[in-house]
Amino acid sequence: MSKGTVVKHDTELGAFDTQHMRINVGPQHPSTHGVLRLVVDLDGERIVSLRPHVGYLHTGFEKTMENRTYQQGVTYSNRMDYVNGFAHDLAYILGVEKLIGARVPERAQRVRVILTELNRIASHLVFFGTTLLDMGALTPFFYTMREREVLQDIFESVSGVRMNYGYYRAGGLYRDVPEGFEEHVRGFLDSFPRYIDQYKTLWMENDILLARTKGVAVLTREQAIDLCLTGPSARASGVELDYRKGQPYSGYDDYDFHVPVYTEGDIWARLAVRMDEMVESAYIVRQALDRLEPGPIIDPDRRISLPPRRELENSMEAVIFHFKLVTEGFHPPRGEVYVPTESARGELGYYIVSDGGSMPYRVKVRAPSLANLQSLEPSSKGGLFADMVINIASFDPVLGDVDK
């Protein structure tokens, strides 16, 4: 299928005309990281234009959440970004908590930070595995999956599932972390620096990787701001935006960490930012673990959280509250809230509108992957088609996050 502009060439071998070739990539292809379709116009091997077509995974989560109670919303939030579910849960729950004015206990805050940061590491590990796979390196995928497996076990021990966690509740957590959680996480943290060193030697200093990523698909700081790019990809272009520093939530201002920023804006910088972020995340987790004290894990306010199981056996009032919370849920006051958070992909926030009922009047997800996908064309233009495949991966889109 070819269609497009006629280009005239006048060479020493004679004059001839060529046409741009339009090819279709996806929607079902491993290198598009989900069901993403791209229509690419090529001049030889160089990209003239690139148009993403999205929406194949559109599930209508926002509309569904408008017809479920606030508490049921956690079931849907993590299904959007299935690689980084805790971040979506946290963003949604923070919005709800701002509406109802819940007071989250310190232990719950610490556990949230630990899990969200571990999930960021897990998400970046998937990023490295798949990006290098697109570059033709098969082994890194097994290395990163090996480390991610340990994290998945931690998430499973905490929430009961390996995906779609739904562990956070308005006001705290669903239940306390299991016995042995701290040792489990410490075990991971102790082994992780060695793996990071391995990754850095094996990949980041690898000649082939450097040749394929240095100076390729460059996005300047001005372009990144113009394209509404956020997250690690923006920080690779010198935009120092990180909401954990800018508008700290869940007690992130308590922890000592720095935000890696690179100014190169090429694919290598987008890889390097995420590599450094994993180190910082592990450091945050260690601090949070050190300060993890025993205590309550949910706001004791009976209007928003379920009474403890033992009270149901001897308190009629507890049974009533339990029944009401399960059947109807709580009723936040009227208002519109938005809490920006930093997911592994960029700015993530839920714009929640309450009309005083027990279900949100409107939920709008500001999903980072959708806005980030727009940077694909400006950075790929003029580059080689083979580089475009790595370039898609370097923005780390999760198509569930794009399509909602």
Binding site: V54, G55, H58, G60, E62, K63, N67, T69, K98, L99, I100, I225, D226, L227, C228, T230, V239, E240, L241, D242, Y243, K245, G246, Q247, R303, I304, K324, L325, T327, E328, F330, H331, P332, P333, R334, G335, E336, V337, Y338, P340, E347, G349, Y351, V353, D355, G356, G357, S358, M359, Y361, R362, K364, R366, L370, A371, L373, Q374, P378, D403, K404
Partner: protein, 203 residues
């Protein structure tokens, strides 16, 4: 920030505060000027554009739709919501001239709410299939659920059942959880929302 808010007030903006979030409702003709003023004041990044449909919002009297622009500074410390109220059929000028990243955000708003952005270079649907009619996030878009059938021909209509739970209706018991504003505790309970099954037609 205060200089910017003064400038927006000059443009006809009305300021609201809620839980530390500042939003300014500006007239439709001033929306691009307001965005330019915000950008000149250091709110350089556009995070989101999204629509609101207040069709069934209790007590809402103004125009039916609103479009909300979410702008913030590069450090992520200051944020402003610029709102425009719209009636059905009213259009907005595109912001793609200010941020090229507004393209997808406006397409999504067009797709979900049906707000048309004049001058957008490529205003097509973004997420829903091309042959889907209507705009799913409008409040009058049907959900397409099936009523649940019980014995004796009774059935539970999902929409009216949920309306009972959502506070737009008194619900099964009238209990409002205590945290809701403007609700008197002693509302009379109401019977569950059951209804007779409609007669089959044409048989």
């Amino acid at each position: 920030m205060s200089a910017l808010l003064e400038r927006l007030a000059e443009l006809g903006g009305v300021q609201h505060e809620f839980k530390g979030m500042t939003s300014v409702t500006v007239p439709k003709r001033a929306v691009l000027d307001a965005l330019r003023a915000a950008r000149a004041d250091g709110l350089e990044m556009l995070t989101d554009i999204h629509g609101m449909d207040y069709l069934t919002y209790p007590g809402h009297t103004g125009k039916r739709f609103a479009v909300i622009y979410n702008v913030h500074d590069v450090a992520g410390r200051r944020r402003l919501f610029i709102r425009v109220d719209l009636d059905d059929g009213e259009t907005l000028p595109t912001a793609t001239g200010l941020w090229s990243g507004a393209s997808f955000l406006e397409r999504e708003t067009f797709d979900m709410m049906g707000v048309v952005f004049d001058g957008h270079p490529d205003l097509r649907k973004l997420l829903t299939p091309e042959d889907l009619e209507g705009h799913p996030h409008r409040k009058d878009f049907p959900l397409g659920e099936t009523p649940t059938l019980f014995g004796d021909g009774r059935f539970l209509d999902p929409a009216s059942f949920r309306a009972g739970l959502s506070g737009r209706d008194q619900g099964l018991t009238g209990w409002k959880g205590g945290a809701r504003d403007g609700v008197v505790a002693s509302q009379t309970p109401k019977a569950p929302g059951t209804a007779q099954r409609p007669e089959k037609s044409g048989s």
